[in-house]
C-alpha cells in the first residue's frame, strides 16, 4: 500500500467501489457546460476552477484543428496531495474519492504544489454566498451527489455525453466497458499517481508536457487578478 493514505487503493479489489471517469474526447465539443455546471454547483469563485476544458489549436491555416481537453482532479489511487497534507485535511476515501476536510485545512498549499494535474485551488475568504473560504478546494467527483445515486454535475450536464462516470470495479458499468474496449490514456502515468480519469483518443499535443508558451494569457491574467485581489497585504504574497 502506498504510504500516508487513509484507505487502500480500491481498483480491482473485490467488494469495493472504485469510482472513475472516462472522458471520450471524440464527443467533446468544447461547450464548457461542465465548467458552468461545476461553478453553479459549488459557487466556485471567479479566477479558479474545479474543472476546466483546455482548448488547443494545432496546425496552420488551412490545415487546422481545435482540440478540447476536459480536465479535473484525477482522484488518484496513489495521491501525492494526500501524502503531503500535514493535517490529513485531504484524505482518500475507500471508494476512491480524494476529498477535502475544510474544517481541518490550514491552506499551507503543499497539496497544490504536490498535484501534477493543477487540480487544486484556494478559496478566498471574502465570498458572498458560500462561506467556506481560506481553505484549499478541488473537484470531489461530486461525492455528495454520487452517494445519493446521482451522476456528478459535470457528467449530468455534458450534452455530448463525453464525460461518463461509474464504478470501475463493476464489470457491467459503462466506464468498465469503455476502458476495456477502447485504448484509453491517463495523464502523466509516469508520476506514479495512478490517476482514475481515463481519456479516449486524446491528441499527443494535449497529454504531453510541452515547452510552448500559451498563445493567450487570458486565463493567466484572470488567475493573477484573482490572487492579487485576495492578497492579504502588499508585501506578503500569500494568496488570502
Amino acid at each position: 500500500m502506498p504510504v500516508g493514505l487513509q484507505a487502500e487503493p480500491s481498483l480491482g479489489v473485490p467488494g469495493k467501489k472504485r469510482w472513475a471517469m472516462v472522458v471520450d474526447l471524440r464527443r467533446c465539443i468544447g461547450c464548457m457546460a461542465c465548467v458552468c455546471a461545476d461553478k453553479a454547483e459549488y459557487d466556485v469563485p471567479l479566477g479558479v476552477w474545479r474543472t476546466i476544458v483546455k482548448v488547443k489549436d494545432t496546425g496552420h491555416y488551412p490545415n487546422t484543428k481545435r482540440h478540447f481537453m476536459p480536465r479535473l482532479c484525477n482522484h488518484c489511487d496513489n495521491p501525492p496531495c494526500v501524502r503531503n497534507c500535514p493535517t490529513e485535511a485531504t484524505y482518500k476515501h475507500e471508494d476512491g474519492f480524494v476529498l477535502q476536510r475544510y474544517e481541518r485545512c490550514i491552506a499551507c498549499r503543499t497539496c497544490i504544489a504536490a498535484c501534477p494535474y493543477n487540480a487544486r485551488h484556494v478559496l478566498p475568504k471574502n465570498r458572498d454566498r458560500v462561506k467556506i473560504g481560506g481553505v484549499v478546494d478541488k473537484c470531489t467527483f461530486c461525492s455528495h451527489r454520487v452517494e445519493k445515486g446521482l451522476a456528478p454535475a459535470c457528467v449530468q450536464t455534458c450534452l455530448g455525453r463525453s464525460r461518463i462516470f461509474g464504478d470501475l470495479n463493476d464489470p457491467d458499468s459503462e466506464v468498465s466497458k469503455l476502458v476495456a474496449r477502447h485504448k484509453t490514456v491517463v495523464l502523466k502515468p509516469e508520476k506514479g499517481t495512478r490517476p482514475q480519469v481515463y481519456y479516449i483518443k486524446p491528441e499527443r499535443a494535449q497529454t504531453e508536457q510541452v515547452f510552448a508558451a500559451p498563445q493567450s494569457y487570458a486565463a493567466r491574467s484572470d488567475s493573477e487578478a484573482f490572487y492579487k485581489h485576495n492578497r492579504g497585504s502588499k508585501f506578503f504574497s500569500g494568496v488570502l
Partner: protein, 295 residues
C-alpha cells in the same frame, strides 16, 4: 477563447523563501552558539572560540525563530489553525515534522539559555546536542518539504535537503561572522573555525550547483523545461546573484591562502554566501512551481 491555460496558481511566495532562509540561519547560529558545550575539547578545543558568542548567539537564534514562526503562520490561509499539523499529525508530511520540531527547537534554545544562566553544564550539553540535531532538522525538513513533491522534478531530487542544510551553514556562518566582526571578537581561532565551516559549505554548494546544472541539462523533458525557466525568468538571480556573487566570489575569497582567514575578507565572503543562499532557495522554490504550468 484561450489556448493552453495557466490557472490555479497558489504561490509559495516571499514568506516561504524568507522563512526558509531565516530558519536556516537561526539553526546554524544555535549550532555555533552551542558548539563549546557540545564539542568541548574535541578537535583541539577549537569550538571553544565560540564561547564569547554563546549568549548573543542564543539571543539571535531566538529572535530569528520569533520572526520565523509568525511569518509561517501568516502565510497560512487559516493562521488560527497553526497547531493542526501537530494535533492532526500526519507522519508522511514533512510539514508535520517541521511543525513539531520547530517549537521543540525553541524549547532547546530556552533550555540551553537557562542552563548557561545557572551554570548547569549537563543541561547545556544535553539541550545543546538535542537542539543541534533539531537545528539541523530545520533546513533538512524545508528541503524535504520540496523533495517529497514526487511530481515536480526540479524539487524531487535528493540533493535538495542536503543543499538546504549546506546553505543554512553558509547563512549561519554569516550571522556569526558579522556579529563577531562588529564586536571585534573575530580573533585568529574564531576566524579559523568559521573559515573551515564556510569553506566546506561553499565547496559543497559549488558542487551541488554543478550537479543541478548536469541533472537539469541531462534530464527529462520536465527538467529541461525547469532549466529553461531558470535561465529565462531567473537568469540574473541564478547566474549573477547565486553563482557569481553567492558562490564563486566567496569561494575564491576563502580559498585564497593569504587573505582567506582575514577577518574582513572572511566576513565579506560569509555575507556574500548568505546572499547566494537566499537567492538559490528563491530560484528553486519559484521555478519549481512554474514547471508543468502549461500542461
Amino acid at each position: 477563447m484561450f489556448e493552453y491555460m495557466s490557472y490555479n496558481i497558489a504561490p509559495w511566495g516571499h514568506e516561504i523563501v524568507i522563512y526558509f532562509f531565516l530558519i536556516g540561519a537561526a539553526s546554524m547560529t544555535f549550532v555555533y552558539a552551542a558548539a563549546p558545550a557540545v564539542f568541548g575539547n574535541v578537535f583541539g578545543g577549537i569550538a571553544k572560540s565560540m564561547e564569547p558568542f554563546q549568549k548573543t548567539g542564543l539571543f539571535v537564534s531566538l529572535i530569528l525563530l520569533a520572526i520565523c514562526g509568525p511569518l509561517l503562520i501568516m502565510d497560512l490561509g487559516q493562521p488560527s489553525r497553526f497547531l493542526y499539523p501537530i494535533l492532526y499529525f500526519h507522519w508522511t508530511s514533512p510539514l508535520s515534522w517541521g511543525s513539531l520540531f520547530l517549537p521543540l527547537f525553541g524549547l532547546c534554545i530556552l533550555g540551553f539559555y537557562y542552563g548557561s544562566m545557572k551554570g548547569n553544564q549537563k543541561l547545556m550539553r544535553w539541550t545543546g546536542i538535542i537542539g543541534s540535531l533539531l537545528a539541523l532538522s530545520m533546513p533538512l525538513y524545508t528541503g524535504l518539504d520540496l523533495m517529497v513533491h514526487q511530481t515536480r522534478e526540479l524539487w524531487s531530487n535528493p540533493t535538495i535537503p542536503l543543499l538546504f542544510v549546506i546553505l543554512s551553514m553558509s547563512s549561519g556562518t554569516a550571522v556569526v561572522a558579522v556579529i563577531h566582526f562588529l564586536r571585534g571578537q573575530l580573533d585568529e581561532q574564531a576566524a579559523e573555525f568559521l573559515h573551515a565551516f564556510l569553506y566546506i559549505s561553499l565547496a559543497v554548494t559549488f558542487a551541488l550547483f554543478l550537479a543541478e546544472w548536469v541533472v537539469l541539462n541531462f534530464g527529462t523533458g520536465e527538467k529541461q523545461q525547469a532549466w529553461e525557466i531558470i535561465n529565462q525568468q531567473f537568469g540574473f538571480k541564478y547566474w549573477g546573484v547565486t553563482f557569481l556573487i553567492g558562490i564563486l566570489v566567496p569561494l575564491v575569497l576563502v580559498a585564497a591562502p593569504k587573505i582567506g582567514r582575514n577577518p574582513k575578507v572572511l566576513t565579506l565572503a560569509a555575507v556574500l554566501s548568505a546572499v547566494g543562499a537566499f537567492s538559490f532557495r528563491e530560484v528553486l522554490i519559484y521555478a519549481g512551481q512554474l514547471t508543468q504550468i502549461n500542461f
